[in-house]
Amino acid sequence: MGEKFKGRGVSQSIDWFIVVVYLVIVLIGWVNIYASIHSSDPSSIFDWSVRSGKQAVWIGTALVLAAVILFLIPPRIWEGAAIPLYLGVVFLLVVVIFVATDIKGSRSWFQFGPVSFQPAEISKITTSLLLANVMSRQNYKMSSWKWLLATLAVIALPMLIIVGEKETGSALVYIGFVFVLYREGLAGWLLGGIGLAVLLFVLSLTKSVYVALLVAIAVLTLSNALNSGKLVRWLEIYLPILVVMAFFPGAWNWMMDRLIPGHSLLGDPTLDPTVALAIEGASGWSFLMKIKPEVVLLVISIAALPVCLYRSYRDKNSFIALSVLVYILCVGLTFATPILMTDVLKPHQSERIEQLLGLRDDPGGVGYNVNQSKIAIGSGGLFGKGFLRGTQTTYGFVPEQSTDFIFCTVGEEWGFAGCLVVVVLYLLLIMRLMSDAERSRESFTRIYGYCVAACLFMHLFINVGMTIGIMPVIGIPLPLMSYGGSSLWAFTILIFIFLALYREERKYF
């Protein structure tokens, strides 16, 4: 009896699944950094004068950091250290504004000789820790305004300072913490309503009315399905229809391109009007151009509304009727967005919004970046052009290739297959983090785990979304893959603190 229970061993207590996925992603990133800087004058992947060699150093040191966190630092200290760490990083965030050198308009980097470091990256970790600390307290109640405000303050403080550093992209990641609040009991409908409104506003500005309407339909049908417990039915019937509908404008354009030679040139604002008329006049199918996909969608959906209302009456299901009302509001919002931008908002306000969404032609050439990035990824096809064979990325058409636009290299050289693998790996990582968090008995660990998952998700979605043109151009790295020590270390610490916390539990339970 005197023998102390030492707990489970290393092999059993550590979630090796996460470690392996982590390593695989880091390695894929390293290989692609090498490919992205690959030129006609190739150097070794270990050449320390270039980025792939430097990244090897960052990876080595990151692994050391991981081991230190996993084996040397007692996990129990994180909960208590959350407050001083958080305050310390907030201090650094403020200091950096005054001492930083200006890098592309943002003042967020500390420079120590050859090494530079961005406190905004570390701040994700400390914010997650403090959030877990606050929300895991015994008397914490989300429904209390006092606690809710305190929670929001923990998120907002570093976020606002980072906005002040003009690193708007990094600040947006903090919105991801709202998912954590949702998991911990924030009223879903409030979150969903605001989220949907913002989403539709952004989509109708950056994408098209069609996409916005389709998303509204998807969200509303899905919530109805969840409400009446018919998720499977939704997945079987609605989802396929929605997916088909999503491809309708593309397919329509594809057909028009073939019916009307030169049709695809019509969107080009620099096109000569004579040529435009010529293109329209040259084909007997030009009358089809009058059919606009969004009008088709609107007509179909409006036609379906009476059916929905009848069902609501028949099944005495007021949720359907509410959804119909919300859909009408959504349609209104979607079509009102241009009016809102031009007539309601002041010019400088809509200008800010357009800048944030990357809609404005700016000297930095954001539109150029996205276009080149889309060409690079799009030209990859199913299996890509092969390792080191990418032309778009190799010849320097894509800017920031090894950092923010590393996903382009994956897309061009490894094709859809490669992209699928990478995205699925991230999704597996995030889901595993979520399920581990869910299984944890300690609310500190659970909440921290969700924070990690949320950070990873936001980075993944914003970064990949940016390279394929569904998100505005926001300069944030792809976690674990983009070149750069700050980012790699930060995500390594973020993930391995969770692994350490989780291991601590697994040892004994």
Binding site: A246, D257, G262, G365, F416, I468
Partner: protein
């Protein structure tokens, strides 16, 4: 939550699928990119004068185009010297190109309108500069100095212009911006054409698409025949050199504008390359872009006495035989006088016109405005205004020449606003009698007034373009526009105008010094006050007296008496137009010499 995560993942993957698999827009072998439209630019229509002489033609010029992406580092010093530009110009242009990376694969203009000689220099060394090439273009050529304000200029369209004419132009196109070029842009510009080619995956053109079946050739612009007499216009330009003002000549029997001069104007040498001289022109204190012939609102001065006289006759308050006294002016109130020069007194209408008596016409306007027919002066002046406007004054004439100004004729409202209801009477506005005060008219309107008198009571709306094959003109230009004064009354003022010129030295006629035997010219001088310095010199005349061929108005800012500058200029132009040349009479030659050498610029205050 997991569902949301999977949905987000599905969204990314779906988008990747559509981008990489479905959408072949980004594939090099894409169908769409394989068609190449080569736009063919039409030649712009030629502008002729009334006698079939070319006043604006076309000539070949070269634009140096550059595709920034294809340009390796190059010898900037050498290229700058070959192109005849500063090295800093090249650097600036390339800095500009590099700001728009998204356009770096496009052919962009580096330097416009090189002459064929300069282009030859470049083409000899072109092989040293990959990425650069010359593009032939036709630009405007001006064989006659017909004046930049009349002709207008052609320039590359700007953003503002593109917005106003959406769907008609694209950036890089040229369009007529002022004058005839703008008035007849739609006829002159022609239609663009295009050739369609197939491109291979290396972006090289392989063959005409469908053997050129779908190609469209450019349609050249229509030639324009103007009503301008090139010789007269050019002669007028010479006479108006170093004077500020305007001359407008009209053929009374058609309303065709024979000559339209605004001075100082844009030199035709600057027109061909307007962009290059733009800031120079814009910064000139004398505002050469400002077309005084149609845009300047001047007091007409004494030439307006004709209008008042005619109104008096029509209203029945004036008979040609009425005489009024004038002792160096018209006295009103207890101490006020509207001064006049020395001449015999009293005068009848004919001699009052001949000698331009101020006093006489004060009585005339008094009779018109204090007519018992009208219970209050408000009605009288509004009635007077209606008459005046029927002479084409105080409103736009509706000419086909762009940016015409309407001018101003006062009404009872004008004075009620200024002096209050009942706060004014005839003596308050007595200066209207002699064409001063609140009247503003353009030189074209004054010329049209002259044409009305020449026609004895009607005019055709002045216009500048003749109908020709493919070019139509508004039928309104073929309709007579009558004034509210009966044609018979015009016979009562014309003899006075004839005497003013042909009365002989010492007769008291105001313009006897410009008489030319045989021309049979009728004229009326004017000296209009100019608040900014010396009086303006005004003269209208038509000739010959019967069956007039030309009616002309000359308005010279700060020129002093009408007879000093405006009358000689107008008479020389009439002589030139009717006789083809200035007679060898030493007096006429000396007059011509004085006008050509005359420089009034020092009197004129710039803006």
């Amino acid at each position: 939550m997991v569902v949301g995560l999977l949905l987000a993942g599905a969204l990314l993957i779906g988008r990747l699928f559509s981008l990489q698999i479905l959408d072949d827009k980004y594939k090099e072998s894409a169908w769409n990119n394989s068609l190449y439209y080569d736009v063919i630019y039409p030649t712009r229509g030629v502008i002729y004068d009334r006698n079939g002489n070319i006043i604006v033609g076309n000539k070949v010029a070269y634009d140096i185009m550059v595709t920034p992406k294809d340009v390796p580092p190059f010898d900037t010093v050498k290229l700058a010297s070959v192109l005849g530009v500063e090295e800093s110009f090249l650097k600036e242009r390339f800095a500009e190109f590099s700001r728009r990376k998204d356009l770096s694969h496009q052919n962009r203009p580096l330097l416009r309108s090189l002459t064929p000689e300069d282009y030859m220099k470049f083409s000899e060394v072109q092989y040293l500069f990959p990425g650069f090439k010359g593009q032939v273009r036709s630009i405007r050529d001006y064989p006659v100095n017909a004046g930049g304000n009349l002709l207008g200029y052609v320039a590359e369209v700007d953003q503002n212009f593109l917005r106003k004419h959406q769907g008609e132009y694209r950036s890089g196109d040229y369009a007529g911006r002022t004058g005839i070029e703008a008035a007849r842009e739609k006829d002159l510009r022609g239609e663009k054409g295009y050739h369609i080619y197939l491109r291979n995956s290396h972006n090289q053109i392989e063959a005409p698409y469908k053997n050129g079946e779908m190609d469209k050739e450019a349609v050249p612009g229509h030639d324009i025949y103007t009503t301008i007499d090139a010789d007269l216009q050019q002669y007028g330009q010479q006479l108006m050199q170093n004077k500020v003002g305007s001359v407008v000549a009209i053929e009374p029997s058609t309303g065709e504008i024979l000559s339209l001069i605004s001075s100082p104007g844009i030199n035709v040498d600057q027109l061909a390359n307007f962009g290059k001289h733009y800031s120079e022109i814009m910064n000139d204190p004398h505002r050469p872009m400002y077309n005084r012939a149609v845009q300047a609102s001047y007091p007409p001065g004494s030439v307006f006495k004709l209008v008042n006289g005619l109104i008096g006759l029509q209203e029945g308050v004036l008979k040609p035989e009425y005489t009024y006294p004038c002792n160096y002016g018209y006295y009103y109130g207890s101490h006020n006088k509207l001064g006049c020069h020395g001449h015999p007194s009293p005068l009848d209408l004919e001699h009052a016109v001949m000698m331009s008596c101020n006093g006489y016409f004060c009585y005339v306007l008094k009779n018109v405005l204090e007519n018992k027919k009208y219970p209050v002066i408000d009605d009288a002046i509004d009635n007077w205004r209606e008459y005046v406007m029927s002479f084409g004054l105080g409103r736009k004439l509706g000419s086909d020449f762009p940016s015409e100004l309407g001018g101003t004729i006062p009404s009872s409202a004008t004075y009620n606003k200024r002096y209050g209801q009942g706060g004014w009477k005839f003596t308050t506005i007595v200066s209207l009698s002699i064409g001063q005060g609140e009247i503003g008219v353009t030189p074209m309107q004054i010329a049209n007034l002259c044409a009305i008198v020449a026609n004895r009571g009607y005019y055709y709306i002045p216009h500048i373009v003749k109908a020709s094959e493919g070019v139509e003109i508004d039928p309104k230009y073929r309709e007579r526009q009558y004034t509210m004064v009966d044609t018979t009354y015009f016979m009562d003022v014309i003899p006075g105008m004839w005497l003013a010129v042909n009365g002989g030295p010492g007769s008291g006629g105001t313009a006897t010094s410009v008489a030319v035997p045989g021309l049979d010219m009728c004229g009326k001088t004017g000296t209009a006050q100019n608040p900014r310095g010396a009086d303006n010199s005004v003269f209208i005349c038509f000739a010959p007296k019967d069956n007039p061929k030309i009616a002309i108005a000359a308005y010279i800012e700060n020129g002093g008496f009408g007879v000093t500058w405006a009358a000689p200029i107008a008479s020389l132009m009439v002589e030139k137009y009717l006789n083809g040349e200035i007679s060898s009479d030493p007096y006429r030659q000396a007059l011509q010499e004085r006008i050509l050498q005359g420089d009034l610029m020092s009197r004129v205050k710039g803006d």
